[in-house]
Homo-oligomer: 383 residues x 2
């Protein structure tokens, strides 16, 4: 179980394809994981998510702990059965959400005490508790509970945080009971190469079946992100999957894949869809713009999704302007198809040695995808 | 075109099955028409609506006139193509919405002047304009523009309104150009048998391929509704379909069908679904109740819908409590299936002579369905 096989490496580079085995089937990498924060990929049924091409989805420990509660999910047969998704699931540990969503947060060596943003209840989340919750949820891949320092932070603060994250990772390993879940370590270190190196050494020394790269895409420049990814590429073992947490845009996929990243997740396609921002091979568009009001063409002529096969831009715009649920559905399905199809194209391009061509094509269609990073992580309670 | 064939009459009664031919196919009656106010049955794709068993849906002239505009829909190939629904459509005339939704309404013999609830624009809707809008939308069945008096109203006020509605009906007939649309007349008359008789005579004398019963389910008692329906049953020609507008509950279906009604529409299943109220063969339930929080059973053990085949009450409740779009989807699909399946059972019960048994079973499961009528018409701008 949890065997990771690198199936192809792009000559002269770090980009690779692979296959990660889980109790709920294989995942072909590089992979994009749609985000189902609260046990649903927003607006979609699990059947639709699967037919859009998703092989694995992400759910969130913090949100599910608050509601409906991890023990409820456990008693109903675990998250797969609860949400009727029978392929692999990854749960985030809640560390990032404790940092971004909780109020009156108090961090000690033991863990983090905070108040529920839903009802103010005091909650104490520790490495042990995070693992227990994730064991109750029952995902295939679970994450270590990490400490996310408030940014900006100087190297000394980043180091103290990475040290605690490393001690917590050891406690997570100790706490883990289930054999049918793979626990991934998380490397921190901010934008400082030395801190990244330190955190990678401390984490890999513990020995995990996979490694996540945390603390990126939180406001740093693309150049800083690329530097950090290069350090990670050098420091992380090549025989384990690498997961770049909460990233990213189409351009970020290339930035990551070129540096050996295998897994990505991001709320971007689903959240943006609900705001009317749609991704296509021809570029991004805001379907709410008046220019689409009478346009009989599909969102994209080159897209094979349900939305583009059946509806005009004018109709999708009408639904969005009218706040109709079907608008969110059609937009979300389209964006997920774009992201999942792009990742399939990236896998194929790695195999055929055409990754640079694909990258040039995608970036030229998305000139906006070059500036500062914005935060597309699970950072809203209604996320 | 628009041939109506009565295929079976319940011995000793008025309940009947029939078939109404339209340019987009046949409709088996009695029929329930899901409401797609703004060109979408809320939360559902047209494929889903069809697979739930719908043969015809309703859309609203008032809402579509305001947004996206009837000329936009016309230029995009008409409503069928716009929303990708290729079975029959009925459009309401907007008369009821002008009365229930518009502000600064001024009614004259010529028509109704009012302000758009969307942006305050002044709009002048006349019988001729309503027909022109409905011809642009291109439904199979269109409705006369009627005057809906503010309630309560005395018989004299009801008569004046019915007289105007009759004069407007004549103007609608005169204005109508398209041969591929059936224009139905609307009978008013409130709860007064004599006024109902007068309005029926005035309307049927003009000769329509179908007749709608307006002005019911607007706050009157069930007894008053039944009396009015009995007058309608006596006064309307038996060789034309009869459409009870904006009605109703499962109990109302029996009250109508027993008095020869063939067509119904109501926002009840879709609107209630979004509020968590679900209909089942075993009774109605509010899925938001805490009692469902850990319930592994489906919403209904006897339902064949997608929701009941795949998800627990606990999961549906979790989605509703979390305001997840999928919650509205699963609830809406379930309720529509209940309403459409109930109407299919009613047709079968008329054929097999078991309508009374079916009625007793449904009403005993829904003891709440006996009190005062509440208004489940399209009476919200966000409807």
């Amino acid at each position: 179980m949890f065997e990771f096989t690198v199936t192809h490496v792009l000559p002269g580079g770090s980009a690779r394809t692979g296959r990660f085995m889980t109790p709920h089937g294989a995942v072909e990498t590089p992979v994009f994981m749609p985000v189902g924060t609260k046990g649903t990929v927003k607006a979609m049924t699990p059947d639709e998510v699967e037919s859009l091409g998703a092989e694995i989805i992400l759910a969130n420990t913090f949100h599910l702990l608050l509601r409906p509660g991890d023990e409820v999910v456990r008693d109903l047969g675990g998250l797969h059965r609860f949400m009727n998704w029978h392929r692999p699931i990854l749960t985030d540990s809640g560390g990032f959400q404790v940092y971004s969503l909780a109020s009156l947060r108090k961090v000690t060596e033991e863990g983090v005490r905070f108040r529920s943003p839903l009802d103010g209840t005091e909650i104490f989340l520790t490495p042990e508790r995070s693992i227990a919750v994730q064991e109750n949820l029952g995902a295939d891949i679970i994450m270590c509970f990490d400490e996310c320092p408030a940014l900006p932070a100087d190297p000394a603060r980043i180091r103290r945080s990475a040290e605690m994250t490393a001690r917590w990772a050891e406690r997570c390993l100790q706490a883990k009971r289930r054999e049918d879940q793979a626990l991934f370590g998380i490397v921190q270190g901010g934008v400082y190469p030395e801190e990244r190196e330190w955190s990678a050494a401390a984490t890999t020394q513990l020995g995990f079946p996979g490694y996540a790269i945390g603390g990126l895409s939180v406001g740093e420049s693309k150049a800083d992100m690329e530097t950090a990814l290069e350090v990670m590429d050098r420091c992380l073992p090549r025989d384990r999957p690498r997961y770049l947490m909460g990233v990213g845009t189409p351009g970020d996929f290339f930035r990551g894949v070129e540096r050996g990243v295998d897994m990505f997740d991001c709320v971007l396609p689903t959240r943006n869809a609900r705001n009317g921002r749609l991704y296509t091979n021809e570029g991004a568009l805001n379907i709410r713009n008046a220019s689409h009001a009478t346009d009989p063409r599909p969102v994209s002529e080159t897209c094979d999704c349900y939305t583009c096969r059946h509806f005009s831009r004018a109709y999708v715009r009408h639904l969005m302007m009218s706040n109709e649920i079907l608008g969110s559905r059609l937009a979300t399905g389209h964006n997920l198809r774009y992201f999942l199809s792009l990742m399939a194209q990236i896998r194929e391009a790695i195999r055929s040695g055409t990754l640079a061509d694909l990258k040039a094509r995608v970036l030229s269609a998305h000139p906006e995808d070059t500036g500062e990073l914005t935060n597309h992580k699970i950072n809203e309670i209604d996320d």
